[in-house]
Amino acid sequence: MHFASMNEFVAMGGYGLYVWLSFGLGLLSVAILWLSSWSTKKRLFKQVLREQVRQQRIQQAKQQPVKP
């Protein structure tokens, strides 16, 4: 460990703002892109399922005789 205390680690020898800004924004960007891609995957599958359910409903409606 290069730093003696937690305070020193946070201070980064006076460059704390710049170091933590870089790592904060950088890792945040990675996290956001990962999470949004993951939620897109979930959303697409839900969309496929919804469409499937809709198709089945249409099929059923077609098979039932039309009421006068």
Binding site: M1, H2, F3, F9, M12, G13, G14, Y15, Y18, V19, L21, S22, F23, L25, G26, L27, S29, V30, L33, W34, S37, W38, T40, K41, L44, F45, Q47, V48, L49, E51, Q52, V53, Q56
Partner: protein
């Protein structure tokens, strides 16, 4: 070799390959990103000139290297798509673009935050920074050009041409620090002879670079899957896959479904 490789151009096989690779890249990438970043932030020695501000290197250099290699990947995918008319190639191209834009953005942000304490300015319109900003615009351009077409294959062709033309920017970025006077320093690792960096600082940097490659690949694989599903959304294999997924996730809920 072509006989062995060719089935992977089929979207369904590509999807399965992504599915197999994704957990490995995600887990190894996340793990190495954590270890590498902590190593660089807390355990590497401070620089004798820049003090602790030099630690920004552990996120700036990996993202900058990745931005160029991802552009290269995107251009190669575009080339394959344009020349051999492989549908999955354009999907790969579109899947890479946002990842590339993200790492380029990170390299610019971290560069600015490093420039302020060391050069006294957040931004300077010099060759390295301007060409890197153009790289970001190229990534965004490819994404939006693809989106602006109704037909995905058409959009892929247009965006592919743009991606290939834009590759001229890569040597400009690389040699910008040699061709023009720049605030930015020259190459440290990738130069002739030994890298001019102490091993204590170099090892965490190499680990960080590897981790960024793995994490970017993981996001790329995920996005490629999404793109494949989006393009093949009406195909029976996608429907089958969605049904299987919902069964795995909620085996109890299926009976109460309205379907």
């Amino acid at each position: 070799m072509w006989k062995w490789l060719h089935p992977y151009a089929k979207p369904e096989r590509s999807y399965q390959l992504c599915q197999t690779l994704l957990p490995w890249f995600a887990v190894l990438g996340g793990l190495s990103l954590f270890v590498g970043t902590m190593w660089g932030l807390a355990f590497a020695p401070a620089d004798y000139q820049q003090g602790d501000a030099f630690r920004i290197i552990y996120i700036h250099v990996p993202s900058a290297i990745l931005s160029k290699s991802l552009y290269c990947t995107m251009a190669i995918a575009a080339f394959v798509g344009l020349v051999w008319q492989v549908k999955t190639a354009f999907m790969a191209m579109v899947a890479v673009a946002p990842v590339g834009a993200m790492v380029t953005f990170v390299s610019l942000i971290t560069g600015a935050a490093w420039g302020k304490p060391m050069w006294g300015t957040w931004w300077e319109w010099d060759a390295r920074m301007t060409s890197q900003l153009i790289l970001l615009f190229l990534f965004v351009g490819v994404m939006s050009l693809y989106k602006s077409f109704e037909d995905a294959q058409q959009g892929g062709k247009a965006a592919g041409v743009m991606a290939m033309v834009g590759i001229i920017n890569l040597p400009i970025i690389h040699y910008s620090v040699e061709w023009w006077n720049s605030l930015h320093q020259g190459a440290t690792i990738l130069k002739m002879g030994k890298p001019s960096m102490a091993p204590d600082m170099l090892w965490p940097l190499l680990l960080c670079i590897v981790s960024w490659v793995l994490v970017s690949s993981a996001i790329f694989l995920l996005r490629l899957q999404n793109e494949i599903v989006r393009r093949e959304i009406k195909r029976p294999w996608v429907v089958e896959l969605a049904l299987q997924n919902s069964k795995q996730q909620a085996p109890n809920n299926m009976s109460t479904d309205r379907g």
